[in-house]
Amino acid sequence: MATPTNKPAEWHSPHSGDGRRTLSPRPRVADFLAGLTGVGFGAVTALTFESESSAGLHSAGGWALAATRLSGFWGTYLLLIMVLLMVRLPWLERTVGQDQLVRWHRKVAPWATSLTSLHVLISILAYAQMLHNPVWSEAWTFVLHYPDMLAAYVGWILLLVAAFSSIRIARRKMRYETWWVVHLYTYLGLGLSFMHQIRVGVMFIGHPLTTQIWVWTWIGAGIVTLLWRIALPIVRNLQFGLRVADITEVAPGVRSITVSGRHLDRLAVNGGQFFQWRFLARNLWWHSHPYSLSALPRPPFLRVTVKGLGDQSTALANLRVGTRVFVEGPYGAFTRHRMTRERVVLIGAGVGITPLRALLEDLPENRPVSVIVRARNHDDVVHGDEMKALVEARHGVYHELIGRRDEVALDGTSLNTLAEGLSESDVFVCGPEGFTESVMASLQEVGVPHDRIHFESFTF
């Protein structure tokens, strides 16, 4: 094997950081893209309004047809935005953060789904009204007489299935893989519904320029998706050729996985960012997980620290040294670039300590830092000794809170006591959902403004 497999011993020592490539956020890009989203929405709305005439509106079914055009165009545009939010655009990923992008995606989803559904239903009603046909026969006529319409119906159904599978209740009962495959079909659904838009849509017929713009917008979205979601990771992984180099249990049920690869010095990553990890072993290769790096890279090595849950823990236990690894990333905006103040406070619990461990290493020198970690037992503190060493090297303050949640509460008063100058600090919080929520509440109680509390949620 070309890549070295010996375990590096220097995870404990602070990283020199010399010559390492870093990634800074691009807030202007995000602003521009937000503006562009608005421009598209305005244009779509204007195009729809322009294709109406007062004579047309006042004819039979006129208002219903106007409604169906607007809902269809709006719904499709929002679907486009949903696709683009998930494109893994690097600048957006490290500026906004994937958790926020996913949150927006989920916020837009109900609108997109209901608007497209309204479009389907109203169009049937409108044509039935206009042509004085019974509704059911009209629905059937649509399928039979417009070749593109049958495809559009199928596309809509694929979209609905994905939408229902993403409702929280259904999502919990479903295996991740099933949900993922169903979601993959939405791309097919979007493709199937495309032709009817430009061949029946009033705003496109006879408007070659509008049609060209719309067609190229979608082709562009497709290209961008292929580039960043598929091509870039493949190229990167061919370059890196990652393999598992070492697996160590660092706390009960928690393992550090060290991988080694080529050219990792070229990898630009910030402490606190994560990759999607895919271990190419039997039972594991078809499932990817978001794991944060638990230390800055030390080429040729990368390290993640993972708490296996359910099926995965047993599978990960069987993971062998030498297994190939496929990563996508780095993603996430939980980095030092979020900082706006001099002082930094890191608060973590459970396996959520791992990104804080990498973030701590990545913080600029001479920053006053306080670290608070919480665990049931001392042994459960993931990388506690490394954290302690790093904090000491920076002359910071390190607190381990050991005990059950009700015994050692992290309320506002205790936070204030533990972290000096808390209200004038940037606070990074990472841990289980309940922990993060309670800490955030305590922080707000103490008066830390919202834009200085930084967190990342992994519960997608």
Partner: protein, 254 residues
């Protein structure tokens, strides 16, 4: 959210840009080449056959279709609005030809003769070509009554020309002079419903003394009468009819 203002401002910009850029007249490309004129000369095969598909669709007042099937060709010349560009003329005559022989149900007169391409994807092939128009003028014996068939207008789902009858400078009847469909049975059906509505709407409009609108200026008004869901059929109807009225106005008959 922090970036909401960007989205909002962007929306305003998008709205303003499109409304400004696509202000009236709507750049709807309509074609004056009918299936019978064979403007490009590329296909002569359908030009003779399509003369027989003139219909009296949905019209009680129309004279027999055969009376308008003459192949007289004339140029409308300067009276043709310059904003209307010839569009899709090369392909027009290769489209399949359909005739509507009954009031409600379109029946295919012919099978599609050529492979059909997506309508919207077609580019204007012969912009600025001086439009040619079929203008069979049939003066009735009385002299005061005149029947004129307007130019065939390509409305993206086919070509339609409207026949108008004027008597004593008033519209007495509006009928379909000629219609060819693109071979999409669905749009033929929509047309068969929409066209009688348009006819009635226009007769109503002309009786309410608003018909002067139809010949105001030199450009036909799109959506003078319209049926939603048949937007382009309506536009084709309007343009053909108004062009016929322009000609009649020049002749002092309207």
């Amino acid at each position: 959210m922090k970036r909401t203002p960007f989205v909002v401002i962007g929306t305003a910009v998008g709205l303003a840009a499109v409304l400004g850029f696509r202000s009236t007249p709507i750049p709807l490309h309509l074609n004056f080449s009918t299936a019978t004129t064979g403007v490009t000369g590329s296909t002569g095969s359908t030009s003779s056959s399509s003369t027989g598909v003139s219909t009296g669709l949905g019209s009680g007042t129309a004279t027999s279709p055969s009376s308008v099937s003459g192949s007289t060709k004339a140029s409308l010349g300067s009276s043709t609005p310059a904003t209307l560009t010839a569009f899709r003329s090369a392909t027009t005559s290769t489209e399949s030809v359909r005739a509507t022989t009954t009031k409600k149900k379109p029946v295919a007169a012919k099978k599609p003769v050529a492979a059909k391409k997506p309508v919207a994807a077609k580019k204007p092939v012969a912009a600025k070509k001086p439009p040619t128009v079929k203008k069979p003028v049939k003066a009735s014996p009385s002299g005061a009554t005149k029947i004129l068939v307007g130019p065939g207008v390509n409305y993206y789902y086919g070509v339609v020309s409207i026949k108008v009858t004027v008597a004593h400078k008033k519209i007495s009847a509006v009928a379909i002079g000629h219609i060819t469909e693109d071979g999409n049975g669905r749009s033929a059906y929509i047309d068969s419903v929409a066209l009688p509505i348009l006819q009635k709407a226009f007769v109503k409009l002309s009786s309410s003394q608003q018909h002067s609108m139809a010949v105001k200026g030199n450009n036909p008004l799109l959506n003078l009468v319209a049926v939603s869901g048949a937007t382009y059929t309506s536009a084709g109807f309007d343009v053909s009819l108004q062009n016929a009225l322009f000609t009649l106005k020049q002749q002092g008959l309207f």
